[in-house]
Symmetry: C2
Subunit: 400 residues, 2 copies
């Protein structure tokens, strides 16, 4: 058995980001930038008013003065002339400050009359003007490569005049569930069989992280059929589920071995989910997850999420964790890194209280689905009293 | 001006969840359940082994005993007979415990020989057996209505034998940007114009929350054209951007008024983003956001995200917040609820330090995009010393 961290590092080392593709701005949300985006213009392109009011010279705008209204400068329709002494130009938020003006009189501090405006409050030089380039200057990097694009980023890319974005291609993940005993939901179950749930749960997890999953037909416990499906190709990563333990019915390794599968490692000091396969089938990396649904999903959180991050070119592949306080005493841990299914409840002062489910049996999918978080317990972690801090992965916030 | 909380409550009160639609399990991730899901079978369907080993009677399995190997019970292929005294059946994880057996001998505690198995460690009665229904019983509710489906939920729905799910239809959100001064990215800009960024940022925000956005053509500052586009129909919610302030060039209210727009309110005690329209155009709710990109996005976080949650039928419409510590002294706030653009950095003991950007000008989209969070400051909040707790919305974690 190898340590979890080493296993994850070896998995990540074996993966390379997908290549770039060009997508329309409107399809860019949640994609990962493959090339940085630089501003194609300066914003604002000139000094503009930050408020509705009047552009004028501060020297003229003492309380009680009356200025001649020379024109208007709404957003998008700059005043063409040059403002002279004793003149004011009506201006609106975003409107260009006319040549000759140096300050803005707020409209609530002014009284407008036919062709004139009265200054009701003395104006400070330079007030309420946003300088050219305050937001960004042409050529400045707006968004860096390796960044997952938020809604705000899409707005910024648009403001920088980019109708197209260069992003990493979505990783294509093949998902192969194996086992004579499983059948798709709604299909006839073999006697003593169970409904296949891993493939669809894993496909959803892939989607949650921005990958594209293909669910392959269920492979029976037959090495030739497993090998044929596993080689059906075109994937950046093949994920198998089932057949990774030491039982006599665990055929994935044997099956793939026929096609030149190169095993890197296959047992990890973790719970749930000890048996795990990592290797390559030709050029395609293969991650073999346990068949047990809870083990498969926990292993996917631990290994597949970072793998998807790496494949997508994300600068940071680490799954976010947060700190919570243990809701109960936790016993000392053994040699395996543990992942306790737990609820999160708000504690005093904004902290989270993480309380592991009483029963951590790895067959209990309902407990996993109902959990808010996985409490991470390192190998040989000492016992922990209720109220002491623990590190957790908040699952639902990840869409997982 | 009305308080932010009241404005949000009035918006939510004016919205109803979309109706149900049936989608395949494979398309269910991140959708919101419109009907609860009950288990269609019992899992496990019988008592099953939790380990690889041998099913037997505890009474026979004392250290040193040798039992006759009567058959095998792998997962999916139950042993058909009844286990007799002195007999053992090879069993694998998930395999049905044969009639007559009451315990499992771990394979690592056994020595197998031709037709026999030797017990190397005395077995405890009932050990390593998962009882029928341990995960869930037929008819039990697995997932409730109003729940956004995680990857784990998809697995659980599959395990409960559901190939189809009944979810709320994705809310259809029309997005209408107005203004003579704006043009789409890559298109020719009018003199003094700026690139339209709000519509695409808002569409991304709608996508982040599971809605379907239609970006309408940019409306010029012409009431008839605004009205025609706003009425183009089929939306659960129409979002406009621009034209919501008091300037002379703010036409959205006037334009919609021609078509029987009923205004509920339009000014909110918040910053950035005071001017906001909420009302109805016929049966369609209309949310009018400011034209300023930062104001538009902050208002969308504050009002549109909860609106999308309500439209989707989510049980909880509140946007999640977290507690952080102020990275600098914060001045007392005025009468408007404020939303400071801030970075989050890890502090000691797993807490986040929220440090507002030095300049909070509402025209600075790059600062908003670079922020990790909005620090929420209530109206009249007193000044706060560095290190005191603040409530923040972590934006990137929401895809926003």
């Amino acid at each position: 058995m190898i340590p979890l961290d080493e296993a994850r590092a070896r998995i990540l080392a074996g993966l390379a980001p997908t290549g770039p593709e060009t997508v329309p701005l409107a399809a860019g949300w949640n994609r990962v930038l493959a090339r940085p985006i630089a501003a194609r213009l300066t914003q604002p392109p000139a000094d503009v008013s930050a408020m509705d009011g009047y552009a004028l010279r501060a020297a003229d705008a003492v309380e009680g003065a009356t200025l001649r209204l020379a024109g208007a400068s709404p957003a998008g329709k700059p005043y063409a002339g040059t403002l002279g002494a004793g003149e004011a130009v009506r201006i609106f938020t975003g409107g260009f400050v006319p040549a000759g003006a140096d300050s803005i009189l707020l409209q609530e501090d002014a009284t407008a009359a036919e062709g004139h405006v009265r200054v009701n409050e003395t104006v400070m030089l330079g007030r309420h003007i946003r300088r050219r380039g305050l937001d960004f200057a042409e050529g400045a990097e707006l968004l860096g490569a390796g960044r997952r694009l938020t809604a705000r980023d899409i707005g910024l890319a648009a403001a920088g005049n980019h109708p197209w974005l260069t992003v990493h291609r979505r990783p294509r993940i093949g998902i192969l569930a194996t086992g004579d005993e499983i059948a798709l939901p709604g299909e006839k179950l073999p006697e003593g069989g169970i409904v296949s749930s891993n493939a669809h749960a894993l496909a959803a997890l892939v989607a949650s992280c921005g990958g594209e999953a293909s669910i392959l037909p269920i492979a029976p416990d037959d090495p030739a059929e497993i090998a044929a499906l596993a080689s059906s190709g075109g994937f950046d990563l093949l994920v198998t589920t089932g057949g990774a333990s030491v039982g006599e019915h665990d055929l994935v390794q044997k099956a793939l071995g026929r096609d030149g599968f190169v095993l890197d490692f296959w047992q990890i000091a973790m719970r749930p989910g000890k048996p795990l396969i990592w290797g390559k089938l030709g050029a395609v990396p293969v991650l073999g997850l346990p068949g047990n649904p809870v083990s498969a999903l926990v292993c996917a959180v631990v290994f597949l999420l970072p793998a998807l991050a790496k494949l997508q070119g994300l600068a940071d592949t680490a799954t976010p964790t947060l700190r919570a306080l243990a809701g109960v005493d936790l016993p000392a841990n053994d040699k395996r890194a543990d992942h306790l299914r737990a609820t999160l409840t708000p504690g005093e002062g904004g902290v989270w209280i993480a309380t592991p489910a009483a029963r951590q049996d790895s067959s209990m999918l309902a407990v996993l689905a109902g959990a808010d978080a996985l409490v991470l317990r390192a190998p040989f972690a000492p016992k922990l009293a209720k109220g002491e801090p623990v590190e957790v992965i908040a699952l639902a916030a990840l869409g997982v």
